[in-house]
């Protein structure tokens, strides 16, 4: 991220293997600064692996991921930790610490990385809780929260350090349409009010076209296409059209071969 580089994240030739299986095939992706990039694709397409690589949770087999001036793929643990102090992540299941209250969960990064006094930390926590409309739940334990409340609490924790980059893994999965819409609105508000670069990994079409400035379509470990929602909608790629029109995957099967596989040639 330099004056001549308008991207918050630049990924080049990213390859990820799990044992003999290749999950990502030479992925190239630019995530523009201050925008919402949605990474979409079918289940098992490689979206979550791509996110884990960007976050430094999975070491790629080759390639580079430049985020906030650091190549995450080759960085040391300390360098990755330095970058992570400027990012926030809202995990699919919330990943709230079950032994802490909602407020304690949200305060954790502040307590670990700042020398702020308790009063200031409490005020900052309440401000973030208020932003996600969770103030009344500050003393509840994670087990006492509904799915939507858990995601909002996780979001409050992700933004407590005012990160430059915010990541969401399946933010609206498992939520009812109305709660999902509220969360989508919250993501847009965060971008507009705090100027964050936001990366969302999801396959929820309703959410995608509501929040995305840019979309990257992942299919079988490749980026099929990137562009604005309009460009993606106008794509002639049959895989993308299949995704957008919710068409089931076509499995063209050689019936004889399939039968032999099932019966082991018996």
């Amino acid at each position: 991220m330099t004056p001549d580089n308008p991207n918050a994240i630049t990924i080049r030739d990213l390859v990820v293997d799990y044992g003999p299986r290749r999950i990502l095939h030479s992925v190239n992706l630019d995530i523009p600064l201050g925008q919402i990039m949605v990474i979409m694709g079918q289940s098992g397409a490689g979206k979550s692996t791509l996110l884990r690589c960007i976050l430094g949770l999975k070491k790629p087999s080759s390639g580079s991921i430049h985020m906030l001036g650091t190549d995450i793929a080759t960085a040391t643990r300390k360098e990755i930790y330095d970058v992570r102090k400027h990012i926030g992540v809202a995990f699919q299941g919330g990943a709230l610490f079950s032994s802490m209250t909602v407020a304690e969960n949200i305060q954790l990064p502040l307590r670990e990385h700042t020398n702020l006094d308790d009063k200031t930390i409490e005020i900052m926590t309440r401000i973030k809780l208020d932003m996600v409309d969770m103030l009344p739940a500050e003393h509840l334990m994670p087990a006492e929260l509904s799915g939507g409340m858990t995601k909002r609490a996780a979001l409050a924790r992700a933004i407590i350090m005012d990160p430059k980059l915010l990541f969401f893994d399946e933010p609206s999965s498992g939520l009812d349409p109305s709660t999902a819409a509220e969360l989508d609105q919250l993501i847009i508000t965060l971008k507009n009010s705090m100027g964050m670069t936001i990366v969302v990994v999801t396959h929820e079409l309703d959410s995608i076209f509501k929040i995305a400035d840019h979309i990257a379509v992942v299919h079988q470990g490749n980026i099929l296409e990137t562009g604005t929602p309009q460009q993606i909608t106008a794509s002639t790629n049959p895989e993308i059209q299949g995704l957008l029109n919710r068409k089931p995957r076509e499995n063209i099967v050689d019936a004889d071969a399939h039968l032999r596989r099932l019966t082991g040639g018996f």
Partner: protein
């Protein structure tokens, strides 16, 4: 035949892999605990969990084992007319061997299993990843306090165990069978020397570190094992593995330390 050799080879590689990971975990925990900021509250909290909450179990098992030891020694010594040695026998047995070993085994069963379950669940529900993404080292935040608390708590619990076990032996010998109290106490004091106390202390320090480290390792690295993809069942099996491995580790380490410090 080839399949058996392959399986044996895979098993040996797996054991080496796990031992290497656990050793690295220990080094990283030591390194992280030496880095500022220094936080004592997490260690105190873990000491409360591993130590204070194991106290009832330790007291109960200590008294019971002391009484059993007193009973068995009394029956044997009576045959040779040497019941005056009851205090020496119970004290040496408890302080050199049974105190550290039994305390460590009790800690394995009570605290070790829950440490593995806690870390295993944290791993499969992405709580460990969340810590990483917050630039909070799981080694410093989760592992180091538990290992340090184990190293500090087990010797303290061993002292409690020793004390109540000696009283259990006293109860059986003196109160139930009428051995002279002075004979029991003097025998105990005469028999115990500084190297015996030192041996017990060294054992309990090492056992404390060993059991918490194995428990942490099995839970924290659950995603690298087959158990990691089995959800709740995987956590349950990792917990069982941790208890079995820790127990065997304690018994084997007991022999090694005993042989090296005889």
């Amino acid at each position: 035949m080839i399949k058996s050799i392959e399986n044996l080879g895979a098993w040996v590689l797996d054991v080496l892999d796990q031992t290497g990971r656990t050793s690295l975990m220990l080094l990283e925990a030591i390194w992280e605990i030496l880095q500022p900021p220094y936080r004592f509250y997490p260690i105190v909290r873990q000491m409360y969990f591993i130590g204070a909450r194991s106290l009832t179990l330790i007291i109960f098992s200590g008294i019971t084992i002391g009484m059993v030891l007193g009973l068995q020694f009394y029956n044997i010594l009576q045959r040779f007319g040497s019941v005056d040695l009851l205090g020496s026998g119970v004290a040496l047995g408890v302080i050199r061997e049974l105190g550290p070993v039994m305390t460590a085994l009790m800690v394995v069963g009570r605290a070790g299993s829950s440490i593995t379950a806690e870390l295993g669940i944290m791993r499969i529900t992405e709580q460990v990843d969340a810590l990483e993404c917050m630039a909070v080292s799981p080694d410093k935040f989760l592992i180091a306090p538990k290992v340090v608390a184990g190293i500090l708590s087990v010797p303290l619990l061993t002292m409690v165990f020793d004390f109540v076990a000696l009283y259990g032996g006293y109860f059986v010998g003196v109160i139930m069978f009428g051995v002279a109290p002075g004979s029991y106490m003097n025998g105990m004091i005469d028999a115990i020397e500084m190297p015996d106390v030192r041996l017990g202390l060294v054992k309990s320090l090492i056992f404390g570190g060993l059991v918490t480290l194995i428990a942490c390792s099995r839970g924290f690295y659950i995603h690298l094992t087959r158990a990691g993809s089995q959800g709740a069942e995987g956590v349950s099996s990792a917990t069982t593995d941790a208890v079995v491995l820790s127990s065997i580790g304690v018994l084997f380490a007991d022999f090694l330390i005993g042989a090296l410090m005889k």
